[in-house]
Amino acid sequence: MTTLDTLNETFKSCRPQLKSYILRMTASVEDTEDIVQETYLKAHKNLESFRGDSSLKTWIFTIASNLARDFLRAKKRWPENVTDICKEAALSNRQFFQEMMEIRTTSPQGDFEIREHITFCFTCIAKSLPIEQQLCLLLKEIYAFQVSEIAQILDKSEAMIKYYLHTARSKMTAIFDHRCALINKEGVCHQCTELNGIFNPKQKVQEELMKIEMVRAAGQKDKATLFDLRLEIVRAIDPFESGAAALQLHHLTHNKAVMDKYLEEK
């Protein structure tokens, strides 16, 4: 029988992953805090029903995934061109840039790094996937759960998890290939290098870009490999703990507000 101490210990050790997972689902710090808190309360309340069919961590992620899914079910998914829409809104919002500049100069987590922006961009674009696909992609590719574990978490067959994963990867690969100027010269989005010019005006952007393997590999590797290299970047960054966390979370809050309004009007 699992004790409360074991639950507390496991919850404490997986809490950073859980928080970043829910943030990547909701794009909201506030909603993330609520869902993580509710996950703990539910796990605590139902601890006796945990039979050990999965690991305790998988069980905790199951509770969190169900809460996130229920929370997001009624909400519309973001469009693929979310960054274009939000950029336009930001350009007409002087306060947004003033706040960003203040964070950049005063916060210990106010650095701007292209890698950090790549992970931010991944979070925004992944919200254009159907929710099951987004969940599977994050659980498998970012949080390293096995297909069998994801099947338990989402209460689906392994075949369906493979379907969601395959479709999610195919869609995301195609979106980034079409949009991202870092991997495709014809890409329509240059936002990360533009922002780098604003926040790090003294940096030589080409030198910075060459530090990123995905950029160096562009033109040589196939689209799927470039997507894997993008996933490596995302995996390596905790959106709450990185050196750019304050700046990127502020940006994410802005994008969520813009998308909420955009989707409501639509």
Partner: protein, 175 residues
């Protein structure tokens, strides 16, 4: 008697195997035409069904569909543009939908001209699935329109081959 039994067995297995090879066939009549294709797919029915019922995703894996919009659900309307006629958007209705078993799409209006597209899935004992698709078009106006309607055989064969390839890639992916 024994020889007849052997002959019947050979005939049955040959017909069955032929029916699942992905080769399309068409039966033409005065007031109708029916094209059918059937293929064995080494994948679970639920994966095949997911591919067949996700409209937005169709053009990604199916080279005969250029665009599809709508919700593939009982009673819903969908629109599609196919390689059979890229200038035309077909407006279809999902007349019947029995999950992982059968789905029927219709267009046109009886008795003048009506199209009926039927998809069926059956589970095989070896864990594979048999996918069949047929389209019957016909009606009082059919004899006049027949010469303007393109042949479906090649498109049906491509549809079945694409579905088989995509479903088997997913099923056997080592994620």
């Amino acid at each position: 008697m024994r020889q007849i039994q052997i002959l019947l067995f050979i005939m049955t297995t040959t017909v069955s195997a032929f029916a699942q090879t992905g080769k399309a066939s068409t039966i033409k009549k005065t007031f109708s035409r029916q094209t059918s294709v059937s293929v064995r797919i080494a994948a679970d029915r639920e994966v095949i069904w997911a591919l067949l019922t996700n409209a937005d995703d169709f053009p990604r894996w199916n080279s005969t569909i250029l665009k599809m919009e709508g919700d593939i659900a009982q009673g819903e309307k969908i629109s599609l543009v196919s390689t059979l006629d890229i200038t035309r958007t077909f407006k279809l209705k999902v007349k019947k939908l029995a999950p992982e078993t059968e789905m029927v799409w219709t267009d046109g209006a009886a008795p003048f001209f009506k199209g009926l597209r039927t998809y069926t899935l059956t589970a095989n004992p070896d864990g594979s699935s048999t996918f069949s698709m047929s389209e019957k078009i016909g009606g009082l106006m059919f004899p006049m329109a027949a010469k303007h309607i393109p042949d479906f055989d090649a498109s049906f064969e491509k549809f079945a081959a694409d579905l088989k390839q995509e479903a088997e890639i997913i099923q056997h992916s080592n994620q």
